[in-house]
Amino acid sequence: MTSPSAPAEVCRARPLLGTRVEIRAAADWPAARLHAAADAAFEAIQRVQERMSFHDPASDVSLLNREALQRPVQVDGATYSVLAAALDLSRRSGGAFDVAVGTRLQLWGYLPGGEEPPDGEADWTAIRLLPDCRVRFERPLRIDLGGIAKGYAVDCAVASLLRDGVQSALVNAGGDMRAAGPAPRRIWLRHPDAPALGAHQLTLCDQALATSATYFSRRLHGGREVSPLLDPRSGRPCLDGASVSMLAPDCLHADALTKVVLFAAPVLRDRLLADCGAQALVQQASAVAA
């Protein structure tokens, strides 16, 4: 520690949510107690993963994709509330954010399976939230919560750390992060043309930050380039080299709103961002980008 008054901090990382999740927790505690708080926060993230992973056949998401067209399916309260938040953002963004993109992500190889895409696939408007945490799909579709659940998981980890009484914390799930407590956190934004390098620095204080960009994930599918960021209405992948970062009060919204900025009409976008207390930071790719 740099000064005797600074509280002790532990910094840990685990492979979760398909990426490296880093937790920093600080308090005037013995290290063992800080480690225990970090353990509990990782477990909160693990629970979100178990419920909302597309990859796990036992998750709520997999159960919904298998059965919600045939019958109302009861899911965990956390899954239900993430779905409710997702549908709210779909409505307010004119469909620029949509979790019903699972089939296309399977087709492009970003998600497993998907040999038989459902006929006449529907969008978010076919998802019905029923009482008692039950969900029904009115038309064939497959959901993927990859664009929102990572942010939610970060929020759950932060809540766990604050419940345990840590003074300050930073939870970072592969670039989607949230800072809590009085300590300001200095953060780099990757350069969209040269992601191994940093382009801008900013300071987070009791705020969340998430970034969407395609520089690590673009690939060829059937001779054309695709990316896991796609306009849900046209089905077209985002191949713009830009990087969209979002500052928001919580990470669920920071995560999801990056997609809104990429695809929503400017009027809807600005109203939604204002309603959510969010601010977008856009780095455009240089003209020389390949």
Binding site: T2, C11, R12, A13, R14, P15, G18, T19, R20, E22, R24, K150, L170, N172, A173, G174, G175, D176, M177, R185, R186, I187, W188, L189, R190, H191, D193, A194, P195, A196, L197, G198, A199, H200, Q201, A210, T211, S212, Y215, F216, S217, A242, S243, S245, V261, P266, R269, D270, L273, A274, Q279, A280, L281, V282, Q283, Q284, S286, V288, A289, A290
Partner: protein
């Protein structure tokens, strides 16, 4: 994208301000052992796999296995492993605790090293940094605590854990 009060176009950083490509040490091997096994004594477990066993591990796990990268210890109520995996952009050293039943109890990343300039797409950009390409990964500055950007996958750790479980099953598990 149309700028507005809610959407700020950041000025183009002509030359990157600094390198976030970084190395992080989260836990030493000893710290991870203590975290996972408390004060239990851990005895190093020499792994000497026959070529047939190595081939069986690779077949079972579906990934290459270079014995020597994996270290193992035995405790009173389980096993402790340290392994390293190389991904497209990074090298990760991680520790795994297995219970007596061979089930994964805990996984911790010990060390993370991002490949510096390893996957910069644009040749013109890359040229600006030649000479730094082969340097050691830079450490995150004292006061920098995170990097935000597109998500880097950690799938190679999943592959590594699958391989480690194969090694356990083929060469360690008591029969």
């Amino acid at each position: 994208m149309t700028p507005s009060s809610r959407l700020l176009l950041l000025p183009f950083a002509a030359v990157a301000v600094c390198a976030p490509a970084h190395a992080m040490v989260y836990l030493s091997v000893e710290e991870a052992q203590k975290l996972m096994f408390g004060d239990q004594a851990l005895t190093p477990l020499p792994l000497s796999l026959s070529p047939q066993q190595v081939a069986a591990v690779e077949k079972d796990a579906g990934v290459k296995f270079f014995p020597g990268s994996l270290r193992a210890w035995k405790g009173a109520d389980g096993y402790f492993f340290v392994d390293a995996v190389i991904g497209k952009h990074d090298l990760i050293t991680y520790a795994v605790a297995l219970g007596q039943d061979g089930k994964v109890r805990q996984v911790e990343i010990l060390e993370y090293r991002e490949a510096y300039g390893g996957d910069v797409r644009n040749p013109r950009w890359r040229k600006q940094f030649t000479g730094k390409q082969h340097g050691d990964p830079l450490h995150l500055g004292e006061d920098i605590q995170g990097i935000s950007g597109a998500t880097l996958s950690c799938e190679h750790v999943t592959d590594g854990i699958r391989r480690l479980l194969s090694v356990y099953d083929i060469a360690i598990r008591p029969r």
